[in-house]
Amino acid sequence: MEPTRNSHATLVDLLDRILDKGLVINADLIISVAGIPLIGVNLRAALAGMETMLKYGVMKDWDERTRAWESEHRKKVEITAISGEEIILEMFGSYYYSQGIYTAWRMGRIYLTGKRLILYHPSFEEMLFETPLEKIKGMALERENYFTGKERENLCLLLESGDVVRLHALDTLKLKEALEQRMSTLGLGWEEVPGLAAHDERTAIFLSQGEEVICSGKMWYLMSPRGIMAESWKPGHLYLSNKRLCWWYDFEGKVGFEIPLDRIVGSSVGTRDLGTALKGAKVLDVVYLNQGGKEVASFSGEGLSEWERALNGIASGKELAPAFEIETCPQCGQEAPANELLEMGCRYCGWVSPRLKRQLRQSALDRATR
């Protein structure tokens, strides 16, 4: 009998070891939360689910598996799905998975083959994402403040279906170059669509019915002390909708602050020192009513004066400020509101987004067939 430690079948065995065992270190030296072992804090909850899943799902065919183990482990793990296709590029990467309320960066290996772009999870032998190259109609690079605090590049792809997919790779630029090169070789056309990067899936998650985003942008939020964490600036996105002002916490992937519009009292931009390193940064203070008193939420980011104007407009009961998200035309570089660019094209040079092109083509076809 040969031992095995491949893929799903031994994940529980791995967890038994990795979570409870190993070298013990003097507790003074390591991070703990109120003396509770870290793993107890909340990983357990997620992992309990995982164990159940493994037991009822993967382990269901347990007996069969036992018998198949010996022959199985000898087989070199290879991706049968791409056998016969030339692998042009292979690197570690992830893609932003979002469905309903469930979102996550799912990690795996990115393969660019002669025909397809694939994200594959070797440990779980699972295809996370794949697309034939000819379905890729648009690309854009997006810079994002990842929760680790580093800015990183994502590759946004517009697919024929109209879906936008966000990928991140160990070397995103290299991936994009290789992808472009392969697509050129195949004679496939695509467009640079910077507007893609502005495409925001988060809103789909937290917006309620009839709620519309009026403006949005990357924004740091001064989070009040929580547990052992001191007051600190957290990266996220601020949204102003026709119902509320809310801030999406990138790190936790959820709404971290929100107030209904009628509770906004006013806002002001001031200059403040952020930490010791940065003196005199601009901060937007939003004053709002909260259970009997006024409170202040502080934000820092781009376009603070625009935000101030919009929020004060709301506080004084005026009409909501129009959308002001400005994007540059990918062709001529002229600035125009993002929605105008995407829905009507560029009024300076006549550039039209692929999605709009498709719509136009479709309606032309409809007319022709009628």
């Binding site: 031994t10 065995d13 070891r17 939360v33 909340n42 995982m50 269901k60 996550a104 740091w220 625009e306």
Partner: protein, 273 residues
Amino acid sequence: MQYSDEKEVAPRAEAVEEHGRYLYCVAASGEKISLGKIGIESKEVYTIPHRDICAVIHDCPAEPYQSDNQEVVKAWVIAHQKVVDTAWERWGTVLPLSFDTIIKGETEGSAQRNVQDWLEQEYERLKSKIENLRGKAEYGVQVFWDPKVIAENLTRTSSEIRKLDEEIRLKPRGLAYMYRQRLENLIKREMETKADECFKDFYSRIRKHADDIRVEKTKKAEQGLQMIMNLSCLVYKDKYTELGEELDKINRLEGFSVRFTGPWPPYSFIEGA
């Protein structure tokens, strides 16, 4: 939107501070080297050496990795294991740490110093653990039985059960019910005895091929099977085939099956090694 570059960098600088050191394992090498971006969330993993041992780490904020998201946690745990495996392959002997062990540090560099001081102070203890584990790996052995098959066999082989079973056939209905209860209890007792015997027998057979053994709690099994023993075995890397052969013999017994996993880094044998 007048917003200078300098100001835009502001809050980011605050978040970039990576004052913690995520510790994967201690390895048997004094090499100072980067293992590349193979860590959790593709962090760069490198070593902090002291004499002939080193800590394998990555820089991180002094906050625990926490998430309710299964996918994320899975990826973290697997990344952790991949790093330990890489170090293990490269240097032969490692002392792995459990997930989310992060050395504290209040300012830049202080966590680094903490790691160095810790290696220095604990050098003798760590070194002797490494020596004790040199050339060995951990294997998981779980023995299951199918209670139905075992009960049937017991009914055939135990004279007491057979006698009772025959008596039931001769009894009128009401009495037969009572007898059947007695029979069930008897089978249950005999099975417990049998499990004990099996445990002792298998343990002594497996013990011969292992340098050390930890008896773990048995867990629930699926498919109507029962786990009757759960062991972590410390075995010389070149000796696992002998253990495998012994397990084959157990696996071939009617109603028994064996799960053999590994090689794992010696997680279960660090304390006490």
